[in-house]
Amino acid sequence: MGDFFYGAAWLQYALGGITIGAIYALVAIGYNIIYNVTEIINFAQGEFVMLGGLFGVFYHQTCGLPLAPAVFSAVLTVGVVGLFLERYVIRRARHATVLSMIIVTIAFSILLKGGAMLAWGKDPHRLPAFSGTGAFLWHGVAVQPQALWVLGISALVVGILTVFFRKSFYGKAMLACADNPNAARLVGIPVRTMVMLSFVLSATVGAVAGAAICPITLMEYDRGALLGLKGFGAAVLGGLGQFSGALVAGLLLGLSESFCAGYLSSGYKDAVALVLLMLALFFKPEGLFGSKEAAGLKRF
């Protein structure tokens, strides 16, 4: 048993897969928050992740803030971007068709991507690890402390949000907005505020993911689209709107990607999550953990 574990390649791949999978889960959760409140899919979700990493770099290296306040400021800044997206873009297009809503969020994502390219250039940037610089050995496998940070943060976010939406007054009020905005308004829920809150929350979760992964994989201006797409894969696979489903599906995607890179072909590792996304969409659009009836009620 010990030999099976000790220094095994698969263990190293699994660790890498879980780390990146946790990020996909956070991106998926970003989709879920907005979807749960508005039934909109925000195509700029991946851009929030990219911005989280790059703003962290900006505050830490350009402004010289210590790491923790820098990350905190980055998350806050991206939250403001989310607020801006809702207040000045989404709200204007509120009564448009689904097709225009898709186009509007895609347009916003292009603007963010273009803006990031102008501000940070085309080179990848790195944040220092949150704690500890060197990797340590565990069962003969190199573990980066940052990977543990990523896992811990993801677990924390999933836990908090699940409790928030299930138990708290505000969480339930937000869920009511998606179910029936008019009824929610009648019982006194400020629907507009809730929608805005969902965009801010979703942007901050994305930014947390971006800042957490930046020390491991670096971040550049055009990473958003692919991260967003894989995150959406996790969201669908886990059942759109479900936080724990997103976590499991995210880890699943991360693991399959990592094992593909390790054993099959590193060039095709990005395709794995996308193929899984398409298979899920084609054959099980309600997700692995969602029920068919519930999916039937959703509007896309």
Partner: protein, 327 residues
Amino acid sequence: MSLREKTAFGALTILLAVFPWLAGISRSFSHYTDVMIFAGIFSLVTLGLSLLMGFAGQISLAQAAFFGIGAYGSGIFTVHFHWNPWAALAAGALVAVAIAWLVGKPALRLKGHYLAMATLGFGVIVHIIMNEEVDWTGGPSGLGGIPGLSVAGRKLTGDMAWFYLVWGMVLLVFLFSRHVLHSRVGRALRAIHDDEKAAEAMGVPVATLKVQVFMYSAVTASIAGSLYAHYVSFLSPGSFDLMWSIRFVLMVVVGGMQSLWGALVGTVLLTFVGNEWLQVFADFEILVYGGILLIVALFVPQGLVVWLQGMVGRRRGLRETHSDGGS
């Protein structure tokens, strides 16, 4: 065709016929013929996409992939197998239509956001394949040495010959698409756009039609890709990435989704914006595209052509009421 549209079509044909001559007058405009060849090639993509998006109401973020399948089809069949370029073009179109059927059949059961994401995912997968299959596509360093086209035994040389070939094809596809739109199929498509369930209840084969339109848009994109390959003779994956799919959507949206004229106008306009007027800004290009797309989607959702028609119509209406009051 209404008289007005006939006039417009006649004017377009004449304008296109004399365009290379007009452009040739001044040295500073002579390269416009080259830009217009690209605009024509892209128009083939956007005319198909317009049918899919504006009329069937289905978004596709994978048109660059079909454009690329046509281009690499032509490239691979001519460079590696030494096929006749026209046979390669046809083979590329066949491959595209087969893939569109395979992907479209399950994908088009999806709606809205799900369909957009599925086509997006498909487009990215195709782009990854272009980068990875180095033996066939040359990978990131590209595939060169693609032969040009010849018509009736004579090689197409010079921009003017290419211009007439490409725009001749655009006019054909335009007429065919228009014909489709004004047939039973077109009415069925509009019914799908307005209310899928009602259309289904009226006996419209919704699923089959949607896949067929998707296949049609894939064929026009693939033919466009083949023309592109034979015209520029060099391919690299960068021309077929996600940004290009978004550009095609942008061209259709800017001109106006629910009008074939819109697709033409939007494509020519944005090709000039991209190839000519934005060269100065280079890196700003992507920002400008995002900005245009956002502004159009928010403020002119019906697109420039329909918006201008509305403006002209309103002014004419005003003038008429004015003269009525005067008499």
